[in-house]
C-alpha cells in the first residue's frame, strides 16, 4: 500500500496558509481492518454463545438420562414395599444397583444416585451407581444404602423440595470430580417427594465435546468471514477502486492535458452503479469543460480576428480617402474630411483629376457597417473612379457601377453615391445622383441643388442616375456630405438637419481667403459641438469643391522636371524639330528648371502663342518673386561651370526677348522666339 503525502489546507490567524500532512491509507486497508475486527468480535461472541448453547444441550441430554433414571427409580422404589425391600433385601438392592449401573454405562453418565434428605438436613443415599466398574465398586460402598453425606444442600435441591422446580442442574465440584449434576424428584403415588435422583455428567467430557464443536464452529465462521472478505475485496477492487483509480488518472490527465481531449471511459461493467454514475458525470463534465474551453478559445480567437479585421477595415477605409489634394489646377480648390464612427462605417469620398481640365468629386455612403461594408465601399469607390477615368459621364459611371455591383452582391448591400465633374475651363458642372443627399451650393449663393434623387447602387439593374448640368460661376462651390452630418442628433434628439448645415456653410462667406479647409472643418466642428456628449454613431464625411477660375488660360504643369516633356513636345510640334526649336526648348527648360528648383510654387501655367514666324512662350507661377530679366547672370569661369548658374545666360542667349511681370502674387515671364 503506497503512502503518499497529501496536503490539507488550513488558515492560521495570520491568514497565511499552513499545510498539514495527512496520512494516506487505502480504502482496502481500512476495510480489511474492519473485517478483521468484526471477525474477532464475532468469533469471541459466537464462541461464548455456542458454548453456552452446547452446554445447555448437554444438560438436556443429562436431563434425558435423569428422567430415565427417575422413571426407573419411581418404578422400582416408588412404592413403600420397594423401599422397605431395599432396606432389607440385599439381593434386590444389588439388582437395582445393577440396573442403574447399566443405565450409567448406556447413557455415558458418571454417576446415578438416589438419595433423600433426612429431617436433620443430612443427605441419606439410597443407592449410588457409577459408569466405571472400579468407581462403582467404591461409590456403592461409600454412597451405598443408608450412607450419609453432609454436603450442603444445593439451590436446585432446595427449589425441588419446596416444589418450585421439577428438576434442574447444578455444576458441582467435589472430590468425585468436576460434574454437571441433574437432579429430579421422585414422587410416590400421592405425589409426595420420597427421594431425589441425581445423575452426574463429567464436565471434562462435556467440555471436550463442547470445545470440539466450538472449534468447528469458529473455524466455519472464520472461513466464512475470510470468504466474504476476499469476495468483497475482489468486488470492491474491481467495481470501485479500479474504476476510481482510472477515473483519478483520467482526471489528472485531463487537468494536465492542455488539449482537453475527451477520453472515452467506457469500462466493461455489467451493472450500473454509483461508480458508473460518477464516471458518467465526469465524462459529461470533461465534455462540457472541453466544450466551454474550446468555445472560450474560439471566442478569444474570433474576438482577436474581429478586432484585427476591424482595424484592417478601418485602415482601409481611412486610407482610401485622399490625403493630398494635389490637383493639376488651381482654378479649383478641393477639400474633404472623414470622421469615422467607432466601428467601421461605410462612408467614403474621392477627389481626383480626370484630365488636365476636369476634376471629379465623389461621395458615398454604404448601407450597414463593419468589414463587409468597408469592402463593398472599396468596390464602389474603385468602380466609380475607374469608370470616370475611362471617360464616362457621372451617370454612365454610376449606372455601370450599379450593374457591376448587382452582378455579385450576396449581402444585398447598397450604396448611395453622388458624383460631380467640373470642367475647370468652362465652369460646367456635370453631376449624377444615386440616392445620395442633395449637394449644397455655396460661395456666391447658398442653396441646395435640387438634384434628381436616383436609386442607390446595388439594388436593381435598372439605370439609377441621370446626368444633370449646372454652370458654376467663379466663386461658386459645391459642398457634399453624408447623412452622418445632417442626421447627427443632440441630447434632445433633434437632428442637425439641412437648414443648420446650410447656415453653417453660409457663415463662411469669404471662401477664397479663408480656404476651403476652413469651410469643411467648421461644418464638422459644428456637428461635433451640436452632438456633444453623445457617442458618434455614424461616420461624418464632408467634401467640397470650390471653383476659383482665377488663372490665365494655359496648361497647368506640375512642379516636376518630368512634366517638362509636355512643354518640350508642344514646342517641337509647333516649331518643328530643328536647331532653332531646340534652342527654344533649351531656354524654356532652363526657366522651368529654375521654377522647379527654387520657386516653391504649387501652381505653374504654361502657354504659348504662335504667329507666322514668331513664337511667344509664357510661364506663370505663384512661387517666390524672381525676375530673370534683371537677375545677375555671372560670367562664370570654366572651372565653376559644374556648379551651375549658366541657365539664365543660356535663356538670354537663345531667346529673342524676355518680358517679366509680377502680378497677383505670380511671376509671369514671356519669352519670344523668332524663327530663323
Amino acid at each position: 500500500m503506497s503512502i503518499k503525502g497529501n496536503y490539507m489546507e488550513g488558515t492560521n490567524s495570520n491568514g497565511t496558509v499552513i499545510k498539514r500532512k495527512k496520512r494516506r491509507v487505502s480504502i482496502l486497508t481500512r476495510i480489511s481492518v474492519i473485517f478483521l475486527l468484526a471477525a474477532v468480535v464475532s468469533g469471541i461472541c459466537s464462541a461464548v454463545l455456542i458454548r453456552r448453547y452446547l452446554v445447555q444441550d448437554e444438560a438436556r441430554k443429562c436431563e434425558l438420562a435423569a428422567r430415565t433414571a427417575e422413571i426407573s427409580a419411581e418404578l422400582i422404589i416408588g412404592s413403600i414395599d420397594a423401599a422397605k425391600r431395599m432396606k432389607t433385601d440385599i439381593v434386590f438392592r444389588d439388582y437395582v444397583h445393577e440396573l442403574f449401573r447399566d443405565l450409567c454405562k448406556a447413557a455415558g453418565l458418571k454417576y446415578i444416585y438416589i438419595y433423600r434428605f433426612r429431617d436433620d438436613g443430612i443427605r441419606e443415599f439410597i443407592m449410588t451407581a457409577a459408569g466405571d466398574d472400579a468407581e462403582d465398586e467404591y461409590v456403592s460402598k461409600v454412597r451405598g444404602f443408608g450412607k450419609t453425606s453432609d454436603t450442603p444442600i444445593f439451590d436446585i435441591e432446595k427449589e425441588i423440595l419446596e416444589g418450585k422446580s421439577e428438576g434442574g442442574y447444578e455444576f458441582v465440584k467435589n472430590k468425585y470430580g468436576d460434574v454437571l449434576s441433574y437432579i429430579i424428584p421422585i414422587n410416590d403415588k400421592n405425589g409426595d417427594i420420597v427421594a431425589l435422583v441425581g445423575v452426574d455428567y463429567s464436565m471434562a467430557f462435556i467440555n471436550e465435546r463442547v470445545s470440539d464443536s466450538v472449534e468447528t464452529w469458529i473455524i466455519i465462521i472464520v472461513l466464512m468471514f475470510i470468504l466474504a472478505f476476499v469476495a468483497s475485496r475482489i468486488l470492491i477492487k474491481a467495481s470501485v477502486l479500479k474504476p476510481l483509480l482510472m477515473l483519478s488518472e483520467r482526471m489528472g490527465r485531463f487537468i494536465e492535458n492542455n488539449e482537453y481531449k475527451y477520453e472515452n471511459s467506457e469500462r466493461n461493467s455489467h451493472f450500473e452503479d454509483e461508480v458508473s454514475d460518477i464516471e458518467k458525470s465526469f465524462d459529461r463534465m470533461t465534455q462540457d469543460i472541453s466544450g466551454y474551453l474550446k468555445e472560450i478559445g474560439n471566442l478569444n480567437f474570433e474576438k482577436a480576428q474581429n478586432e484585427t479585421q476591424l482595424s484592417v477595415a478601418k485602415r482601409i477605409q481611412n486610407g482610401i480617402v485622399p490625403e493630398e489634394f494635389s490637383l493639376l489646377s488651381d482654378s479649383c480648390e478641393t477639400y474633404g474630411l472623414m470622421l469615422p464612427a467607432k466601428s467601421v462605417g461605410g462612408d467614403f469620398y474621392d477627389i481626383f483629376n480626370i484630365d488636365d481640365k476636369r476634376v471629379c468629386m465623389v461621395i458615398g455612403d454604404i448601407s450597414g457597417k463593419s468589414v463587409s461594408a468597408a469592402l463593398f465601399m472599396v468596390m464602389v469607390k474603385m468602380y466609380v473612379k475607374e469608370n470616370l477615368q475611362t471617360g464616362m459621364s457621372p451617370a454612365e459611371a454610376l449606372n455601370n457601377t450599379n450593374l457591376d455591383l448587382c452582378r455579385s452582391n450576396p449581402e444585398n448591400m447598397f450604396a448611395t453615391v453622388f458624383v460631380c465633374v467640373l470642367d475647370m475651363n468652362t465652369g460646367e458642372l456635370t453631376y449624377a445622383n444615386a440616392g445620395h443627399n442633395k449637394p449644397l451650393l455655396f460661395g456666391n449663393r447658398n442653396e441646395y441643388i435640387e438634384v434628381k434623387t436616383g436609386m442607390p447602387l446595388g439594388m436593381f439593374t435598372d439605370p439609377v442616375a441621370e446626368n444633370e448640368k449646372l454652370r458654376l460661376k467663379k466663386g461658386d462651390g459645391i459642398f457634399v456630405y453624408t447623412d452622418g452630418v445632417t442626421e447627427s442628433i443632440n441630447g434632445d434628439s433633434i437632428q442637425f438637419g439641412e437648414t443648420r448645415l446650410n447656415e453653417t456653410v453660409a457663415t463662411k462667406k469669404d471662401t477664397a481667403s479663408e480656404g476651403l479647409r476652413d469651410v469643411v472643418r467648421t461644418v464638422v466642428d459644428s456637428v461635433m459641438t451640436f452632438a456633444e456628449g453623445l457617442e458618434q454613431f455614424d461616420d461624418i464625411t464632408c467634401a467640397a469643391l470650390y471653383y476659383s477660375k482665377d488663372a490665365d488660360d494655359g496648361i497647368v504643369i506640375k512642379r516636376d522636371m518630368k512634366s517638362f516633356a509636355i512643354i518640350r513636345n508642344t514646342l517641337l510640334s509647333v516649331m518643328g524639330d530643328n536647331d532653332n526649336s531646340r534652342n527654344a526648348v533649351l531656354a524654356c527648360e532652363e526657366i522651368f528648371a529654375n521654377i522647379v528648383s527654387y520657386s516653391g510654387a504649387d501652381s505653374i501655367h504654361f502657354s504659348f502663342e504662335k504667329s507666322e514666324d514668331i513664337c511667344y512662350v509664357s510661364f506663370s507661377d505663384n512661387g517666390v518673386p524672381f525676375d530673370p530679366v534683371n537677375a545677375a547672370a555671372p560670367d562664370k569661369e570654366f572651372e565653376d561651370l559644374d556648379t551651375g548658374g549658366m541657365g539664365i545666360m543660356l535663356v538670354r542667349m537663345y531667346s529673342d526677348e524676355m518680358i517679366y511681370s509680377r502680378k497677383d502674387n505670380r511671376n509671369n515671364l514671356m519669352l519670344k522666339f523668332v524663327k530663323a
Binding site: F564, L586, E589, A593, F638, L641, G644, L650
Partner: protein
C-alpha cells in the same frame, strides 16, 4: 538618352545618343561615377546627341575635372556645339 561604353586599355569611350536634358543628365553622372579606377582618359562621342541643356554641360565639366583634363569630345553636332561655345566649354576641352 542612351549611353554606350567602350574600354580601350586605360581609355573609356562613352557614346551618347538622344537628348541630354535635366531629366536625363543623371544617367551620364552615374556613368562617370561608375568608371573603373584605372581609366585615366575619357572620350565622349556625341555623334548621336541632339540636345544638351546646362545640366549636361555641368556633367561634362565635372568629367573634365575627374579626368584631370584628359577629356576629348568627338563628333559634336552644330547645335550642341553652339551650346558648348555659348558656355565657354570650347576654351578648355579639345574637340575632334
Amino acid at each position: 538618352m542612351t549611353i554606350q561604353k567602350t574600354i580601350n586599355g586605360n581609355e573609356a569611350v562613352l557614346s551618347l545618343e538622344g537628348w541630354l536634358d535635366t531629366v536625363e543628365s543623371p544617367k551620364l553622372q552615374a556613368e562617370l561615377d561608375n568608371l573603373e579606377s584605372n581609366i585615366d582618359s575619357l572620350v565622349l562621342d556625341l555623334a548621336g546627341l541632339q540636345y544638351t541643356s546646362s545640366s549636361g554641360i555641368r556633367q561634362i565639366v565635372s568629367a573634365y575635372k575627374k579626368m584631370k583634363g584628359a577629356l576629348v569630345i568627338r563628333n559634336t553636332s552644330e547645335g550642341v556645339m553652339g551650346v558648348f561655345k555659348a558656355t565657354g566649354l570650347d576654351k578648355k576641352i579639345s574637340f575632334e
